[in-house]
């Protein structure tokens, strides 16, 4: 009887531990996803544009937390570095520099904004159907997605397996996407670059290579006459 009792309590303990872990996992998952969804809504709903950029950053961070929770730690960290560390900073820059903070974001209020509603509706229905197609495919034709699953192995780390696929099978796609980004960058520079005349520029080589002989001139100044410095 005694051993039975102990077994029983051990079983209970094991159960509570496993339930505990699952519950904690669930708590974290729901916390991050609620923050993600709420901040995504607040991006569009907040009146101050700078606030919406900050909500966007919060959204990125909680999504990268979700990535880390499903074991995609490399993706989560890259998300943080690229989106939060670089892209969102530029967003903030633009929003602050343009001083859009002063113009209040009137949500579904003015006549001007109501013109954009049909376009927004079309885009959001498109995205909605895309998500439905992906989820439906996942549900009813799981064998399509098995190809991708076979690549993921548990023996090597996340980063290694990504690198092994990215630089072998998909090297051309990878290079082409890099080229597209480069073209976009060159395009942006060409569009905004203007050669203006009459702009004073400082050449650092000239500044460094200045010597005493060409910079300083010692003159004997006579009283009541002054000196004519080079025009």
């Amino acid at each position: 009887m005694a051993t039975d009792g102990r077994m029983f309590w051990r079983l209970i303990l094991k159960l509570t531990i496993s339930i505990d872990k699952m519950i904690v996992h669930a708590i974290f998952f729901y916390t991050f996803s609620i923050i993600a969804v709420v901040s995504a809504i607040m991006v569009t709903a907040s009146k101050n544009t700078v606030h919406s950029v900050f909500f966007l950053i919060l959204d990125f961070i909680s999504i990268s937390c979700l990535f880390i929770m499903i074991g995609a730690e490399f993706l989560g960290m890259i998300m943080l570095i690229v989106y939060v560390g670089a892209v969102a900073v530029l967003f903030l820059f633009v929003v602050m520099m343009l001083n859009v903070a002063q113009q209040k974001n009137q949500w579904f209020a003015g006549q001007a904004t109501s013109k954009h509603i049909p376009v927004g509706l079309i885009i959001s229905t498109l995205i909605f159907f895309e998500i439905i197609i992906v989820i439906g495919g996942w549900k009813y034709k799981p064998e399509i997605f098995d190809i991708n699953n076979s690549l993921a192995s548990t023996s090597v780390s996340n980063t290694h397996s990504l690198g092994q696929v990215l630089y072998t099978d998909y090297i051309h796609v990878f290079q082409i996407s890099g080229m597209i980004l480069l073209v976009a960058m060159v395009g942006a520079i060409v569009l905004t670059f203007r050669q203006r005349s009459g702009v004073k520029k400082q050449s650092y080589i000239k500044q460094i290579s200045r010597e005493r002989a060409e910079g300083v001139e010692v003159l004997e100044v006579q009283s009541n006459k002054g000196v004519k410095i080079d025009d």
Partner: protein, 332 residues
């Protein structure tokens, strides 16, 4: 209950890490002022406690009893959040720093990426503080600082790639162990120099302290802050400097490894070696502050984008081709 005990253990570990970090931040402020003073033939803080060691404590006490002033036209929530963000980000990064092969709070696979991500998030404390103050000087300081930090992050990222090519892992302990035979400072010496200078720019230290250049911008993004909130910015800044020193020690100076692998040196625990290396780098930081005059802002940007980025990118190609040619690429 089982889970709670795990949580308590972790909290104990975190406190055991954070309290020494905070104390050493206070000490490092004293050291910084002391080194600065000695270079200029002054005494520096030497009144409170032995050698003035308790100066930072006295300063902290002063800040605690000062009034916190929140400007009436500021954006209050973000104004209060900004120093908290700076402080938190400076402290959470210490979770992945290995003090020996086993003494590490979170031995994660992507340790170096985590460090890099957290240090790149550090911009936000400054931008938030500068924008929420709703005042000209803080705003200009914040914009300058954000541009500066984003630019120098790029070259730090490329330098990290250099080290990763030699290691073949993103784990910080693996990076330290890969330097068993030779510290990376020897083969990658130019990268170490560039890392050091970029770290100065990344933490807004002189000669790159333009965001808070007192001659032109009062105190930059901190202008409107007072009392404990100012002190939190200050602590966060110094914690960030220590963190960059730790990063340099781990990437280039062999982390917790003893300099020579012979008997009396190996007895010394790894944590001591790491702390000594961090201190060495920090004293270099302090010396630079005392010796070098402030850069001009356009020169700073030129240095980041036109000198450091091409140099470190070229070095990536060189390292990769060297490793490939001599078949030294780490494969696991």
């Amino acid at each position: 209950m089982e889970y709670l005990s795990i949580v308590f253990q972790e909290v104990y570990k975190i406190l055991f890490l954070l309290v020494p970090v905070l104390v050493s931040v206070a000490m490092i402020v004293w050291l910084d002022r002391r080194v600065w003073a000695f270079v200029q033939k002054r005494q520096g803080p030497n009144v409170v406690g032995p050698f003035g060691l308790l100066q930072s404590l006295a300063d902290a006490l002063k800040y605690i009893f000062k009034e916190i002033i929140i400007p009436s036209s500021s954006n209050k929530i973000i104004f209060i959040l900004a120093p908290i963000v700076t402080m938190t980000l400076a402290l959470i990064a210490w979770a992945v720093i290995p003090f020996s092969a086993t003494k590490v709070l979170a031995d994660i696979n992507v340790g170096i990426l985590y460090l890099f991500a957290v240090s790149s998030l550090g911009v936000y404390g400054i931008i938030m503080g500068g924008w929420a103050s709703n005042s000209k000087y803080p705003f200009l300081g914040a914009i300058r600082s954000a541009a500066q930090m984003v630019s120098y992050e790029v070259s730090i990222g490329v330098i990290i790639i250099n080290v990763l090519l030699c290691v073949g892992s993103l784990n910080l302990n693996d990076i330290v162990i890969a330097q068993q035979n030779m510290w990376f400072v020897i083969p990658l010496f130019p990268m170490f120099v560039i890392f050091f200078i970029s770290a100065l720019a990344e933490t807004n230290r002189p000669p790159f302290d333009l965001p808070e250049a007192e001659a032109e911008l009062v105190a930059g993004y901190q202008t409107e802050y007072s009392g404990m909130m100012y002190a939190m910015f200050w602590l966060g800044e110094y914690a960030n400097i220590l963190l960059m020193c730790a990063m340099g020690a781990i990437l280039f100076l062999g982390g917790w490894m003893s300099p020579i692998d012979v008997y009396p040196f190996t007895l010394v625990p790894g944590a001591i070696w790491l702390i000594l290396k961090i201190l060495l780098l920090f004293i270099l930081f302090a010396l630079v502050k005392a010796i070098v005059p402030r850069y001009r802002y356009d020169q700073l940007m030129r240095l980041g984008w036109k000198v450091f980025l091409p140099l470190s990118l070229t070095w990536v190609v060189l390292t990769a081709s060297y490793l490939f040619y001599f078949n030294l690429l780490p494969v696991n």
